[in-house]
């Protein structure tokens, strides 16, 4: 029986997504998690000489910084190799020779990477929460032992201070924003890799974009000031402002650890911007990929 060809199929995208995830897993990218675990355990042991507030502060900063670094690195390195590798292995020709539209291929690839990033972020967050919880419990036990003869309200106060220094519910939206930043970087890497000649080129370009993206907000404010520099400077600032994403907008976690509460409006708007960037860069990647001569 002849099956009718569908111009869009979620099953095909799912197959490419699953394939991408399997490929990346076989590349042992999850070894990054091992490094993360070492950073986490190392920092928690090293910090034992500080007061518990200082220890929790540094543990949270280092862990969330490591989550941010590793997800960004993973997003760039894992995505950069996808298209060049498929061309080199000739897998791309096999896929596209079948009735698979190019946009489905791009969509399947990026979804696979986003899934990989989600799994990594979840595992790293779980590790971080576990270590933080264990350290908190250790401090709680020590405090209870030391205050065994104190009145109950003093013990309750001390425990409240320990719990408020250790865990902050706002950390979760902060981690979600880190994930969105990684999604943006993955989509942008995919876009760059559609016209790049090698994955090294893509990674180098992305490293530049990463640094420039963190300066974009400064460039934007300077560009929009009336007195900001000469013509060449203004043109340069305009290029940076218009062509690069504002990566600084996704660095909320430092202030969240410091105790700043993230409101629903801030989280929703930051998340929308991240999704907006990811969608636009994926669309651009698809558009360029359609014109690519294979």
């Amino acid at each position: 029986m002849e099956t009718r060809y569908r111009p869009f199929s979620l099953w095909r995208i799912r197959a490419i997504t699953a394939n991408t995830l399997t490929e990346l897993t076989r590349l042992k990218v999850f070894y990054v998690l091992l490094v993360f675990a070492l950073v986490l355990i190392g920092s928690s042991i090293f910090m034992a000489q500080f007061s518990f507030q200082q220890e929790f502060q540094i543990l949270k900063d280092v862990s969330l910084g490591a989550i941010s670094l590793f997800t960004s690195l993973l997003a760039i390195v894992a995505t950069a190799r996808l298209i060049p590798q498929d061309i080199e292995d000739r897998t791309l020709y096999t896929i596209l020779a079948k009735p698979v539209p190019r946009f489905e291929y791009v969509l399947g690839r990026i979804t696979g990477v986003l899934l990989l990033l989600a799994i990594s972020t979840l595992l790293m967050s779980a590790g971080f929460v576990l270590v933080l919880y264990l350290r908190e419990q250790a401090v709680v036990h020590t405090t209870l032992r030391q205050m065994s003869n104190a009145p109950p309200d003093q013990i309750a106060d001390a425990l409240r201070v320990i719990q408020s220094s250790a865990f902050n519910i706002n950390i979760f939206p902060g981690i979600a924003v880190i994930y969105l930043k990684a999604c943006l970087l993955a989509a942008l890497t995919l876009f760059v890799s559609t016209f790049a000649t090698s994955n090294i080129f893509t990674i180098v370009v992305m490293a530049f974009i990463y640094f420039i993206g963190h300066l974009q907000a400064t460039a934007r404010e300077y560009w929009l000031q009336e007195h900001g520099g000469g013509l060449i400077t203004r043109v340069f600032l305009a290029v940076v402002t218009l062509l690069f994403p504002d990566l600084q907008a996704f660095n909320l976690v430092d202030d969240i650890v410091a105790g700043t509460a993230i409101s629903l409006a801030v989280f929703a708007k930051t998340a929308m911007l991240g999704l907006f960037y990811t969608a636009v860069y994926t669309l651009l990647a698809t558009f360029v990929f359609y014109g690519k001569e294979l």
């Binding site: 502060q57 660095n251 202030d255 410091a258 700043t260 409101s263 801030v266 708007k269």
Partner: protein, 255 residues
């Protein structure tokens, strides 16, 4: 070629579209105390090339923590000058971390000032006292700048009140800052009480202190703590409060 032109046009169009969104979001972030650090040449000079790049790339907290560990090592070696510099960098990088402001002030006003007073290499007492006062002022400066960056949190107001009380013996300012701490949401329940205690030591403000302590006393058993009763009785005597208006002599003290 055509495709490249289209891509560039889309990027510029998207850039123009996202511009007001990014500006709005940046303003919202600032309003809600995110991204309070200004990256400028001054900070670049303080942090060095590598630290500045790391801080710019979203690892501001880790750079601050690394400097904090260095400051801790400097404390162990009693290098007060180096500690001061490091804490200035740390608080510049992480102005919303109360712990850093508080620790910096504590090191300056409590540890460094005592070290200056006990400095055996300085035989002249006047110079030792001068150095001690300078460290008090440095501690105060950290707390004042910390409050400027965190006006919505009570901890640093409380720390500054403690500094005025313990180091300057300035009860009026201590009362003022305890009161300010008490007015901020999330303040400790004792801030209001401490403010009234401190006020009770101020010459000429006994009446105000009495009214505040009495109002706390009237709130119930929970506020009737030994110090509050002691200060209230002292003020009753000092102000000549009529016997029928005074608190009972055998007041039950809540321990």
């Amino acid at each position: 070629m055509m495709r490249t032109a289209v891509v560039l046009a889309v990027l510029v169009g998207f850039g123009t579209l996202k511009l007001p969104i990014e500006r709005h979001l940046a303003a919202l972030h600032r309003q809600e105390h995110f991204h309070g650090v200004e990256f400028n040449l001054d900070l670049r000079e303080k942090l060095g090339q590598l630290g500045f790049v790391a801080a710019l790339s979203g690892f501001r907290a880790i750079v601050a923590d690394a400097l904090f560990i260095q400051a801790h090592a400097a404390w162990e070696n009693t290098e007060w000058g180096r500690m001061l510099l490091l804490f200035r960098h740390i608080t510049t990088l992480q102005p919303r971390v109360l712990l850093f402001w508080d620790t910096a002030a504590w090191h300056m006003a409590w540890n460094a000032s005592v070290a200056a007073m006990n400095d055996r290499t300085q035989p002249r007492l006047a110079l030792r006292v001068k150095a001690q006062r300078e460290y008090f002022a440095l501690g105060k400066d950290f707390l004042e700048r910390g409050i400027k960056n965190n006006p919505d949190r009570p901890d640093l107001y409380e720390a500054l009140a403690r500094l005025y009380k313990d180091k300057y013996k300035d009860h009026e300012h201590a009362a003022e800052y305890y009161a300010k701490a008490a007015a901020v949401p999330g303040a400790a329940p004792w801030d209001r009480r401490f403010s009234a205690y401190e006020l009770s030591y101020c010459e000429g403000r006994e009446r105000e202190a009495y009214e505040r302590l009495r109002s706390l006393y009237n709130e119930g058993e929970k506020e009737r703590l030994p110090t509050l009763i002691k200060r209230l009785k002292f003020l009753e005597d000092k102000l000549g409060i009529p016997r029928e208006q005074r608190i009972p002599q055998e007041n039950k003290v809540v321990k």
